[in-house]
């Protein structure tokens, strides 16, 4: 539904986006990750047709964004960063305006506006100027205008940025319910969000796509992938750490907190080691408080992929 081919954007000598190519299909929720200034927003702005690329093409639903901009924009909904809206308007008048711009009139227009207001819970503030609304409501107004025409492609630039946990949960729920029949691209700084809503994650750094896979793929790249956390009730026999380290498939065991007898056991090459650890626990009859498998730390993967090599050391 969305196809980017060798997309490149330069601002003078600065390369903002460098040869980015990918496709996103119906039912996919692609999470764009990357440090600030990595080119996420610029890429999104080119997909929506706001910025013209220096090179490359974008097609939305088969329409070239620059050759047939109106057709492409019709099947596209966009929430720009910070959810800008005309502050002096009320959510109702603003959504009416966007709906009219999208070509809806009369009963169809009112139906769509009330439907979308219900979907994002805006009815309570329908008649207040947008300027006076809280950040959460403003974001919902932005979301509402992006989905009023039920687009098949949705581009959301940091949809949950600045929202409180409840609002985040709501917005994510909304995205999930829409995900089935749409192609959605969203950018975020919040790594947990990738888990919560995305079917696919892409890390962009230094203007290039660095990884592209499922959130689980991304986690598997963490050195903590399949690591086991083991906490025992002390006092316990000495040499627990050495025993753990000696288990097959174990790379190392590090004590997280010496007094509390808490260890993180790291596997060799990300292989599952929970079996070996639990057998060892049984054998020695240790009094276990906690035993769990880690999936991997996205933030650690993110850091190791996006930071220049010398900065890591």
């Amino acid at each position: 539904m969305v196809e980017l081919r060798q997309l490149r954007k330069t601002f003078g000598p600065i390369v903002a986006v460098d040869e980015v190519s990918f496709t996103v299909g119906r039912g996919e929720v692609l999470g764009f990750l990357g440090p600030n200034g990595a080119g996420k927003s610029t890429t999104m702005k080119m997909i929506t047709g706001f910025l013209t690329p220096t090179q490359g093409t974008v097609t939305v639903n088969g329409f070239d964004v620059w050759k047939q901009p109106l057709e492409a924009k019709e099947s596209l909904g966009y929430l720009p960063e910070g959810a800008p809206a005309y502050g002096e308007m009320t959510p109702l008048s603003f959504l009416m305006f966007v709906g009219e711009m999208r070509g809806f009139r009369g009963a169809e227009l009112s139906r769509r506006v009330s439907e979308v207001m219900e979907k994002v819970n805006l009815e309570g503030v329908a008649h207040q100027p947008i300027d006076t609304l809280s950040k959460g409501f403003k974001r919902r107004v932005g979301l509402a205008q992006a989905i009023i025409h039920d687009p098949s492609v949705l581009i959301l630039d940091e949809p949950t940025d600045g929202l409180d946990p409840n609002q985040k949960h709501e917005v994510r729920g909304l995205i999930k319910t829409m995900a089935r029949e749409k192609a959605i691209i969203l950018s975020t700084h919040v790594l947990e969000e990738v888990h919560a809503v995305c079917t696919r994650a892409m890390i962009i750094a230094r203007s290039k796509v660095i990884t592209d896979g499922t959130p689980a793929d991304l986690e598997a790249r963490s050195r903590y992938h399949n690591a086991v956390i083991l906490r025992l009730r002390g006092p316990c026999a000495d040499g627990v750490q050495a025993m753990l380290q000696g288990l097959p498939g174990v790379e190392s065991a590090e004590a997280l907190d010496g007094d509390a007898m808490e260890y993180r056991i790291l596997p060799k090459d990300g292989q599952p080691i929970i079996g070996a650890v639990s057998q060892c626990v049984h054998r020695h009859n240790w009094d276990v408080v906690e035993l769990s498998v880690e999936h991997g730390h996205l933030d650690e993967v993110f850091r190791s992929l996006t930071m220049p090599a010398q900065a890591l050391t």
Binding site: F50, Y78, P80, P84, Y86, G87, E88, M89, M101, R102
Partner: protein
């Protein structure tokens, strides 16, 4: 109603949703009145026409219209709504024209509200209402010219103060190029056609012709093509500076 109409409606309603409308209209009417009666000696002249009223319009517009125009695009860019607008299915040209027409129409409303002036002069004497109508037309067209310049300057920058100042300076250029004082600078050495060319670019030359009651097609074409030119420039500037 097309997309130009939808933008036009939103913008025009927007003026009245904020204090801009009230402030602009009140100041415009007060200044227009003050200039006419105090500086223009409306009563002492003892003539039943609106020349002292219309004579001050270029100067009123020079300051007031850039104040209105400065927000046209600068505000969209600062607030980020420009991104919203141009990702809706709308062409650059439709947006530029829609916003301009709303702003122009708003000045038209302010101008229409000066009708008590016309009523007064008709009570006091028997003016040539054809001349007054032509003057209103000229004034409205000139307002459009100033507005189109302001639109382009507003597209140049996020900063409304800068947009205002540059608009005033460019507008001043378009007024002064008809002044004898400025033309004298050129008439000494430049060929006659250059002097005429400079003078023909002036708002004053064309506005004065209309306010004498002569509705010449050339004056209409001048103002309309001037508006067209500056709106075209607005679209070019917007396209060029979108990324910023």
């Amino acid at each position: 109603m097309g997309r130009v109409g939808v933008i036009f409606k939103r913008e025009l309603v927007g003026y009245f949703a904020t204090p801009i409308a009230a402030v602009f209209i009140i100041i415009f009417l007060m200044l227009a009145g003050a200039f006419t009666f105090y500086l223009g000696d409306f009563f002492a002249r003892g003539q039943s026409d609106l020349i002292p009223f219309f004579d001050f319009h270029p100067w009123l517009y020079l300051v007031l219209i850039p104040a209105l125009a400065m927000r046209l695009w600068a505000e969209e860019r600062r607030g980020g709504t420009i991104e919203l607008l141009f990702t809706l299915p709308v062409t650059l040209w439709e947006a530029v024209v829609g916003k301009f027409l709303a702003a122009w129409c708003f000045t038209g409303i302010a101008l229409t509200l000066t009708f008590p002036m016309w009523v007064t002069v008709n009570i006091l004497g028997e003016p040539d209402n054809g001349v007054i109508l032509a003057s209103y037309l000229g004034s409205f067209l000139m307002a459009g010219g100033f507005m189109a310049i302001g639109s382009c300057m507003s597209a140049l920058t996020k900063n409304q103060v800068i947009a205002f100042v540059i608009s005033v300076v460019v507008g001043l250029g378009f007024i002064l190029s008809g002044f004898a004082m400025v033309l004298d600078l050129f008439s000494g050495w430049a060929p006659q056609f250059v002097v005429e060319l400079i003078s023909s670019f002036s708002f004053l030359t064309h506005f004065n012709a209309l306010s004498r009651g002569v509705v010449d097609l050339r004056d209409l074409v001048y103002f309309l093509s001037l508006i067209g030119f500056w709106l075209f420039a607005t679209a070019l500037v917007l396209e060029w500076k979108k990324a910023e």
